[in-house]
């Protein structure tokens, strides 16, 4: 990686825009449970439901960043707990490489987050959204990183 992380000035009235891919069986259900439990978390993430995290092509994440997503969250079943036995392991391997190329290309890798949250882990899901939102808030808009 060669571009130095510029000190960014976070603009006023800016809210991080976060895209969250959730698998239907664990994390989407966990997000539902967060709602029914009335766990409050930042409203910045937009959840896009996929059947399994294995469905996620790294391109979905990279394209989102290019389109201006300030952060991308992927949340799935814990390794070993995949509803489809092993889709999440394949995503996990893709993710390891993806995170590295993102970092190498000079985009702050803290903008992307992979987490495991089961259907019962509403708090973990909500905390994940919160942490990513706060982290991205500190880094600033991705458009500022383009500066």
């Amino acid at each position: 990686m060669s571009q130095s992380q510029n000190e960014t000035v976070v603009p006023e009235h800016w809210e991080p825009r976060i895209l969250a891919y959730c698998c239907n069986w664990c994390s989407y259900a966990g997000a539902d449970l967060a709602g029914t439990s009335r766990i409050q978390y930042p409203p910045n993430a937009r959840i896009l439901r996929v059947n399994c995290t294995g469905r996620i092509d790294p391109e979905f994440i990279l394209a989102a960043l290019e389109m201006g997503a300030d952060g991308v969250l992927v949340s799935g079943c814990h390794p070993g707990d995949c509803h489809y036995t092993s889709g999440n392991l394949k995503l996990r391997a893709r993710w390891a490489l993806l995170e590295k190329v993102i970092e190498q290309s000079g985009v702050d890798p803290r903008r992307v987050r992979l987490q495991w949250a089961s259907a019962s882990e509403a708090q973990i899901f909500a905390d994940g959204v919160k942490e990513l939102t706060e982290q991205v808030r500190k880094i600033g808009p991705i458009r500022s990183e383009w500066k």
Binding site: L33, T36, S37, R38, I39
Partner: protein, 446 residues
């Protein structure tokens, strides 16, 4: 047509088992039983005495432990039952008599006149708009009003309107308003007769009359209400459109006390048993108070917190730690109104400190226990079943026949055989259906 083995067909043929079942009561337990029977290809008559199926659950605002809104999860169930080709809905109907035995009962049902033709009414409500008569709505426990031609609640199933002839003044404005000519003021009760192979009793419960505890002030002090009234108050479709206000002055209560174990675990009031649901609905209601007004104070007066079901203890813990509901161990002895401040004062002994205390609140919600419906004894008597001393239907054996009554072919589920929460009632509904279909299919150990 259900797929059945050859031996069953023979059994059916020789025993002449009716392929129909009767379910008495259209609450969650009865609906579940009806669905599980009908899904096997049998025909079900579902008899419900009120104008709509849905039972008590339809009156609730939220459900514990997930705070799912009751209407949201119940409504699809209502339409599933209503549109199931195997279920014949007989709402606003009463069971008149039962004769015969397992495999072939003869049943008579009286379908009371609604004065609105079910097949014509589209539920548009034009009639109700025109009706000049307003009476307290029993669905809202009298807190709101309905017309003389009405549906109890928006998701009422069937959506057919009903005329309450006791209040109707026969002005016929509804008749003129109805474009579909569905109103028939001359309608008469109908008598239906049919055969069934098995019967399921799912008649539900009634709430304990909390006025029997004079010292708790219900009926005397306007801001002392009971839990079902509270449910209607916080319900968006209820009389206040979901605004939690005091009935005396319309102000938003800043402090609410919830009094548990009223008409439960009390030998002196003939309710020696635990009602199973009050702790949890009490906690749920306290959480809802916090949700409506996060700054409000919600205190629960209890003896033991019985959070025993799946996710219940976790919900109790959440109410305490996340929502800040206060739990006060002590049975409320008395509620009075301080005429100077207008506050309600609960006199209670803090058993953890062994001190009697007076605590002020703006509103008191009494959480009554559950009792068998008034007419349960009468209904089951028609089937040759007697009730126990506490008024419920007795089951044959807790292990071998937990949903079997002492009359073969007749089963029981939900609160008809004792207090139960929703999942336990639903489970029993399915279990009763299982037993009934064994009879309908001509099977059985015999």
């Amino acid at each position: 047509m259900p797929a059945r083995t050859k031996s069953q067909k023979q059994a059916t043929a020789t025993k002449k088992v009716s392929q129909n079942a009767l379910v008495v009561g259209g609450g969650v337990a009865g609906m579940q039983a009806a669905l599980d029977i009908a899904n096997q290809g049998f025909k079900v008559y579902l008899v419900e005495k009120s104008p709509s199926i849905g039972g008590r659950m339809a009156m609730l605002d939220k459900t514990f432990p997930t705070l799912d809104c009751s209407a949201c999860i119940l409504t699809p169930r209502l339409s599933e039952v209503a549109r199931h080709p195997g279920i014949k809905l007989l709402t606003y109907s009463d069971l008149e008599s039962v004769s015969g035995k397992a495999g072939s009962f003869r049943v008579r049902v009286i379908k009371r006149a609604r004065y609105v033709k079910e097949e014509l009414c589209a539920g548009c409500g034009e009639c109700s708009k025109e009706c000049p008569v307003e009476v307290p709505n029993e669905f809202d426990w009298g807190l709101g009003f309905r017309k003389a031609i009405y549906v109890g609640f928006p998701q009422s199933t069937p959506s057919t309107y009903t005329i309450d002839m006791e209040s109707c003044i026969k002005c016929k404005r509804c008749e003129r308003a109805c474009e579909r000519k569905a109103i028939d003021l001359e309608m008469e009760d109908e008598r239906l007769e049919f055969d069934v192979g098995a019967i399921i009793i799912a008649t539900g419960y009634r709430l304990f009359d909390v006025a029997r505890y004079y010292r708790l002030g219900y009926g005397r002090i306007p801001d002392v209400i009971h839990a079902m009234e509270y449910e209607r108050l916080i319900n968006a479709a209820g009389p206040t459109h979901g605004h939690l206000v005091r009935l005396s002055d319309g102000r938003i209560p800043q402090s609410i006390g919830f009094v548990q174990c009223v008409g439960a675990r009390d030998v002196t009031k003939d309710v020696p048993y635990c009602s199973r649901v009050c702790c949890m609905y009490g906690i749920k209601n306290a959480v809802m108070a916090k949700e409506h007004n996060p700054d409000a104070d919600a205190t629960i007066y209890y003896a033991d917190i019985r959070a025993f079901g799946k996710g219940f203890e976790e919900f109790y813990e959440m109410a305490r730690s996340r929502f800040g509901v206060k739990f006060f161990r002590g049975r409320a002895a008395e509620v009075r109104r301080d005429s100077r401040t207008g506050k309600l004062v609960v006199r209670v002994e803090d058993t953890e400190k062994a001190q009697p205390q007076d605590v002020e609140h703006d509103m008191i919600v009494i959480c009554p226990g559950i009792q068998p419906p008034e007419d349960l004894a009468k209904i089951v008597e028609k089937m040759g079943i007697s009730v126990t001393t506490d008024g419920y239907v007795d089951v044959a054996n807790r292990y071998f026949g937990p949903v079997d009554t002492k009359v073969p072919g007749i089963f029981v589920c939900g609160c008809a055989d004792g207090p139960k929460d929703i999942p336990d009632s639903v489970t029993e509904g399915s279990a009763a259906a299982m037993k009934a279909t064994i009879i309908l299919s001509g099977g059985g150990a015999a």
